[in-house]
């Protein structure tokens, strides 16, 4: 694969061994990778531990879009961002950790903004429901049992 590699391309290897060929300008949007490239301690293949192929693909998609549309209207990019970050709890958590770990500022900001939107102007009850999502059922039932328990105690 690397024999036919063009100039200014890098290979990123995810934690589960999948490889992605990415232009260098896109890859260095991650400060962690940028530092590695600048210090020349990276060969063509850069391992990205702790980030699996699924998440890495998403991060690359985000960086590519941001690199292309540098001079485009900011509003287009905003809509892309808000659609991009609109994901389930698990993916959101993994993306935030990846963005933090690899130091991709734009992505981290977009994700944090998304979580902030979940809280903005909402009641405490509403925030809980949003954060807990599918776990809600579990909690409701345990609360129910807890209430029965309390009632019995007080009686």
């Amino acid at each position: 694969m690397s024999s036919s590699l063009e100039k200014n391309m890098l290979i990123l290897r995810s934690s589960d061994g999948e490889e992605f060929i990415v232009p260098e300008v896109v890859a260095v949007m991650s400060k962690a990778i940028k530092n590695m490239v600048e210090d020349e301690c990276a060969s063509n293949t850069i391992p990205v531990p702790n980030v699996d192929a699924n998440i890495l693909a998403m991060v690359i998609e985000f960086c590519k879009k941001h690199d292309e549309s540098e001079a485009e209207a900011a509003s287009d990019l905003k809509t892309f961002d808000s659609e991009f970050v609109n994901r389930g709890q698990e993916a959101l958590y993994d993306l935030i950790t990846a963005a933090n770990f690899r130091d991709v500022k734009e992505l981290l900001d977009a994700l944090c903004q998304n979580v902030a939107e979940m809280i903005k102007g909402k009641s405490v009850h509403h925030i809980r429901i949003q954060f807990l999502g599918y776990q809600l059922f579990e909690i409701l039932t345990s609360n129910f049992i807890w209430n029965i328990w309390c009632d019995r105690d007080f009686d």
Partner: protein, 333 residues
């Protein structure tokens, strides 16, 4: 526990920085962890103007006062002094908690009414406290607008760790030129509706070599603007009031990438516009600027790397000629 609450403190704090104060406060009851996160949230924001509006039942911002009113019990509008003392107590308590527990303060934002010399003294005490605890960003707005009670004392100019400073309507105090300013790490400087003169500004610039972003909005007392020694300056915004126009703008900043200049209409136009040393400029935005055609073309020809050009209400331009390989976006309004 849900996945979001499992994120590290620093990320949740970063997320909280996108919220306003009451939203952040509301998260404190989510769980014990969120309560601790709220208590150590390093961005402090105190706004007396907002508090005044709320307590005095501004119909838009407050719904509970109406309830209180119809109840008939507390037909009470807080007078200015009561509000003032509520506010001062609140700030004092919060700040002391941070200092005593040695919690890092990253940003301190304060909108404050200065009524007498006593409040000025308290303000000075607070500023000393936060500067001693190495605050990184300070955002200070004093009102009422014409307020000669308080001069920013040398205390504030000794903030070695300060990265961003935003001052609005503050009184800088004119004998400033003799003071040493120690903004060794200042990167962003915003000055809005201040009385400032040429000498003071130059003194500011020479004492903060690391400035990357500079914003001057409606500053009084300047009739020319000169930047000579800011080698790291990347973004510059100048908004000029018609009553206080510049007749000369001279910018020598080799790293400058973004420049916005806006002027109120029908003011005297700038006679000299010298930006010959800013070869790296990528984004130029001129608004309401009665700049002459010759001057404009002369100006634009100095920027070989220009990518974005925005012109709005520049009435004196009859024709525009641009030749650039890099231009990606051009807007005209």
């Amino acid at each position: 526990m849900d996945r979001i609450s499992e994120l590290p403190d620093s990320i949740i704090h970063h997320m909280m920085s996108f919220l306003n104060g009451s939203d952040v406060a509301r998260t404190s009851v989510l769980s014990k962890r969120w309560h601790n996160l709220w208590a150590s949230f390093p961005i402090l924001n105190f706004d007396e103007l907002h508090l005044e509006q709320r307590l005095n039942g501004n119909p838009e911002s407050m719904c509970w006062t109406q309830e209180v009113f119809t109840d008939g019990f507390m037909k009470h509008i807080y007078d200015r002094e009561t509000t003032n003392s509520i506010f001062f107590n609140h700030v004092d308590r919060s700040l002391s908690r941070f200092i005593e527990n040695k919690i890092k303060i990253q940003k301190f934002k304060l909108v404050i009414r200065l009524v007498n010399s006593k409040s000025a003294l308290v303000l000075e005490k607070w500023l000393r406290m936060i500067i001693e605890s190495n605050v990184e960003e300070l955002d200070l707005w004093t009102y009422p607008e014409i307020c000669a009670i308080y001069n920013l004392t040398p205390t504030i100019f000794d903030a070695k760790s300060m990265k961003a400073l935003k001052l609005k309507d503050c009184n800088l105090g004119l004998p400033l030129c003799n003071e040493t300013i120690n903004f060794n790490s200042l990167q962003r400087l915003f000055l809005e509706t201040l009385q400032i003169d040429e000498k003071v500004l130059q003194h500011f610039f020479s004492s903060c070599p690391l400035i990357e972003e500079l914003v001057l909005i409606h500053c009084r007392g300047l009739n020319r603007f000169q930047v000579k020694c800011l080698h790291k300056l990347r973004k510059l915004t100048l908004v000029v009031k018609s009553r206080h126009p510049f007749d000369m703008v001279e910018i020598k900043a080799p790293s400058l990438e973004y420049f916005h200049y806006s002027n109120k209409k029908h003011s005297t136009y700038v006679k000299t516009f010298d930006m010959s040393r800013c070869q790296n400029l990528k984004h130029l935005s001129l608004c309401n600027t009665d700049i002459e055609e010759g001057l404009f073309h002369d100006l634009v020809s100095k920027f070989p790397l220009l990518e974005i050009l925005e012109l709005s209400c520049c009435d004196m331009l009859q024709s525009i000629k641009i030749s650039s390989n890099h231009l990606k976006r051009f807007t005209l309004q």
